[in-house]
């Protein structure tokens, strides 16, 4: 009997469990798009260079094109379809909409998922390459436009909506800070 080239697994996506049989070659990105019909996660390069496929895996941002679906079992995956609370947009989504943080919209789900994680990473005190003083006692850096640009640089936007994306991330971070 030839070795099996597929497996049954259960993926947990946006709080729902999906049991499916996947070809072992299937990436998490393709499983989401082609098998679960969650096409909000985009395929821009399929090799980890553009960030369009960014999702949250156990709360951390991650490019879904560079991991196999079989390796995602047991993880909690959040895609763009799962970040709003019902009809109420996530503050990052609302800010992107209000400030026109996109043009064609294709990089947008990845930008938004990345931004959600950026705000959390920053709130947790993580430094970036743009952080001047990285000593723990220096405390968390202010989430300046420079910090946002550095932290968002894994997400390309060919339309060049960067200026309004940075504004949107800053506004969302402010509103979340105010809510906290």
């Amino acid at each position: 009997m030839p070795p099996s080239t597929s497996s049954e697994l259960t993926l947990s996506v946006n709080g729902e469990k999906y049991t499916l049989t996947v070809d072992h070659r299937t990436t998490l990105l393709d499983a989401l798009r082609e098998r679960l019909d969650l096409t909000g996660t985009k395929k821009g390069c399929d090799q980890g260079q553009c960030g369009a496929c960014t999702v949250l895996v156990d709360g951390r941002r991650s490019v879904s094109c560079l991991q196999l679906a079989v390796a995602a079992e047991g993880r909690e995956i959040t895609t763009i379809e799962g970040v709003a609370s019902g009809d109420r947009l996530h503050p990052v989504q609302q800010a992107f909409l209000d400030l026109d943080g996109f043009q064609c919209g294709y990089c947008t789900p990845g930008q938004i998922c990345s931004a959600i994680a950026v705000i959390e990473e920053h709130a947790a005190g993580w430094p970036s390459a743009a952080t001047g003083d990285v000593r723990p006692e220096a405390g968390p850096p202010a989430l300046t436009p420079e910090e946002i640009r550095e932290r968002m640089s894994g997400n390309l936007c060919r339309c060049g909506a960067y200026v309004s994306i940075v504004q949107a991330v800053a506004r969302a971070a402010e509103s979340e800070g105010a809510a906290a």
Partner: protein, 704 residues
């Protein structure tokens, strides 16, 4: 009709499809589900020139899930003997699998179709293709001009006025410099994707493109079909920039759907896009300017060389950029092409103007330096009252108004003109400016507007929203034309069954479509009887702007812009950082300030990216590109982009029903020159080859 409302046009409005885009609900071409869908994967040549000797299909056909392998022995026949919507014959590159010829590296030689994309991909990678190699020639440089020839593209190749040599002899100062720009690729974020199927005797294609009736017409031409039997839809498009017309993926999908009689999807990989999606040719340009001591130009000569493929002639008309910009007694401009064994180049955002303005506006800055005249003042002194070559009146110009407003906001008056004298720690600082323009055009389009029984209005116009905000802009235009609020207007776009309309390209989409929508809305208002009931099917009025557009008087019609940039250059590493940019534009009536500003800034970021980052490097030995992906080809990322502002002066086009000119391209024009001029101001070193890479800054002795 209800309460008269006007004023939607000119007021910021978030995108009508914005919620769908931020929630992931908007579906792009490769995301529409189809029952019984098969997946095609293109196989591209691994040689740059030669013949396909054989394709070993047997082993691949035995692989799991593989349905067929199409290649030049078994693919459906197509013809290229037709002229498409844009008045040109197709690039033979899209006539897939018709013979054994390989004309460039990455030429499509087969399509593998399988039940799943994983199966198709593995089979495509396993497919062995044997070639008879022939020597190839991909080496582009200014020296190739001896083999080049002048070619008309969408502009005349050569325009000459006045005596060049006499003008140069009489000039007090002559600038004579050579400039180069590299091969550049569009790289829209959404790769080209199409799904084709036959349904009830019609060919249906769900695609990502810049004009569905353009692509439908091309497919009808290629496959010798009745145009009415082809329907192409393209609701959401993840960027285009000139690359999304008829391409290999649609043709391959149609072939496979025809052979298999089931839906087939073909999606380009990012790497495949570098040989299948078109690109901007590299250019080698020479500019000669001759001027009087007061800066008045006696001579403007601009010669540009670009490459094209062995199978298709495409001209990047870089030399045409100056024909509407500056007056000179002797005014000679010529664009030439040389044929090489490379993929066919194509339109890419501001074709001609983007690379041409880099050379011309850099040369102007060099002239200003030599004359000791402020670069803005130099442009003021050469401001023409009529078309410098044509003698035609300008529709409107307002370039100097852009410079005045830009200079005020940028703080230009405080600028010390001396180069290489400002420091901020390790950084040398400089500022630069440049002008830009792009032709404004209206093209015939049709539209239908329906008054619905529930008091709403439905607009049907075959526009394409490739990120421009066209769907939203047309909603505002229709609301004003109907004198209703925007929430009562629904706009349907992106479907060839909506009827003919011009493409999203050439900065002419929103203007052309708005004209058609306005005309249909006006017609509808005339036919509605106040207080009368609307029947259940509604009342519809239609428009066709062919006659009105054709009646436009001949004028110099352009959008203009003044670009400003501040840069910091690290002479130790050669790194150039743009610190801020400002663009002020005279670009007609701005329909939606929110999306327009975004689009203009996006164009300026393209200019920044062109100035500092973008460069596709062709390997002379293989004929292919080094690093043909988004790691090897860097486009500006978040960290590269500083605060950038775009604004505009009042400049409604008097001959357009809405006053629109078009803003898709003017944002990039001149932006790279402004950055390069700022690098000179920072360092005292001129960079005449793009991109201004760290190694170029270092080897030019950036620590001036």
């Amino acid at each position: 009709m209800t309460t008269a409302t006007r004023g939607a046009v000119g007021t910021a409005h978030t995108r009508v499809e914005g919620r769908d885009k931020v929630t992931g609900a908007a579906r792009y071409a490769g995301e529409i589900p189809f029952a019984d869908l098969a997946h095609g994967w293109l196989v591209l040549s691994t040689v740059a020139r030669g013949r396909v000797r054989s394709v070993d299909t047997e082993a691949v056909l035995a692989m799991p899930g593989v349905l067929t392998v199409l290649h030049h022995h078994n693919a459906p026949r197509v013809t290229t003997d037709y002229v498409g919507l844009l008045g040109v014959p197709p690039d033979p590159t899209v006539a897939l699998f018709q013979d054994d010829r390989v004309a460039h590296m990455g030429w499509p030689v087969a399509l593998v179709v399988a039940e799943t994309s994983e199966q198709a991909r593995e089979a495509a990678e396993a497919l062995v293709v044997h070639y008879d190699r022939e020597p190839h020639d991909v080496a582009f440089s200014a020296e190739r001009d001896t083999e080049a020839y002048p070619a008309d593209g969408h502009m005349p190749a050569v325009v000459e006025k006045g005596d060049l040599e006499a003008g140069l002899a009489a000039s007090a100062v002559v600038v004579d410099e050579r400039y180069t720009t590299p091969e550049e690729h569009h790289n829209p974020m959404e790769p080209h994707a199409a799904t084709a199927r036959w349904e009830g005797g019609r060919l249906e294609v769900v695609d990502s493109n810049q004009g569905t009736n353009w692509v439908a017409g091309e497919l009808a031409g290629l496959f010798s079909l009745d145009p009415a039997s082809v329907r192409v839809r393209s609701e959401h498009v993840g960027g285009g920039f000139g690359s999304k017309g008829v391409r290999a993926h649609q043709v391959a999908a149609v072939m496979a759907a025809t052979v298999l009689q089931r839906p087939v999807r073909v999606v380009m990989t990012r790497r495949q896009m570098f040989s299948l999606a078109g690109y901007r040719s590299p250019t080698a340009q020479r500019v000669r300017l001759g001027a009087d001591p007061d800066g008045r130009l006696r001579v403007l000569e601009h010669r540009s060389l670009n490459l094209t493929s062995a199978v298709y002639e495409f001209v990047e008309p870089s030399a045409a950029a100056g024909r509407s910009m500056y007056a000179a007694d002797a005014h000679h401009t010529a664009s030439r092409v040389v044929r090489l064994d490379v993929p066919s180049p194509t339109w890419m955002r501001a074709p001609g103007e983007a690379p041409g303005s880099f050379a011309l506006e850099s040369a102007l800055d060099e002239l200003a330096e030599r004359l000791g005249i402020d670069p803005i003042e130099l442009r003021v002194r050469n401001e023409p009252s009529v078309g410098p070559v044509s003698g035609l009146p300008f529709g409107s110009r307002n370039l100097i108004a852009c410079f005045r407003e830009g200079a005020r906001r940028f703080g230009w008056a405080e600028r010390d003109p001396r180069p290489g004298v400002r420091r901020d720690g390790r950084w040398l600082l400089g500022t630069g400016t440049a002008a830009g323009s792009f032709p404004t055009t209206a093209m015939p389009s049709t539209a239908a507007v329906t008054a619905e029984a529930d008091g709403t209005f439905t607009v049907r116009i075959n526009a394409a929203d490739i990120g421009t905000g066209a769907r939203t802009a047309l909603t505002l235009v229709a609301a004003d034309a109907l004198e209703v609020s925007t929430d009562r207007v629904r706009v349907h776009i992106g479907d060839s069954d909506l009827g003919p309309a011009i493409i999203a390209g050439g900065s002419m989409g929103t203007r052309s479509w708005s004209w058609a929508v306005t005309a249909a809305a006006d017609e509808l208002r005339r036919s509605l009887v106040p207080g009368a009931d609307i029947p259940p099917e509604g009342i519809t009025a239609r428009s066709n702007t062919a006659e009105a557009v054709g009646a436009l008087a001949q004028k110099e019609r352009h959008a203009f812009g003044a670009q400003f940039a501040e840069v910091a250059v690290d002479p130790a590493t050669g790194e150039v950082r743009v610190r801020r940019m400002l663009g002020v534009f005279a670009a007609g009536r701005i329909v939606n300030p929110l999306t327009a500003r975004n689009q203009l800034v996006g164009g300026m970021i393209w200019g920044l990216s062109m100035a500092l980052h973008e460069e596709a490097v062709r390997d002379r030995s293989t004929g292919g590109l080094y690093g043909a992906d988004l790691a090897g080809y860097h486009v500006a990322a978040h960290a590269d982009v500083p605060p950038i502002e775009a604004d505009w002066v009042d400049d409604p086009d008097p001959d357009d029903p809405v006053g629109i000119k078009g803003i898709g391209e003017v944002g990039i024009v001149g932006a790279a020159a402004a950055v390069a001029n700022a690098v000179w101001h920072a360092t005292g070193v001129r960079h005449r080859s793009l991109p201004i890479r760290p190694d170029r800054v270092l080897s030019a002795g950036g620590d001036a």
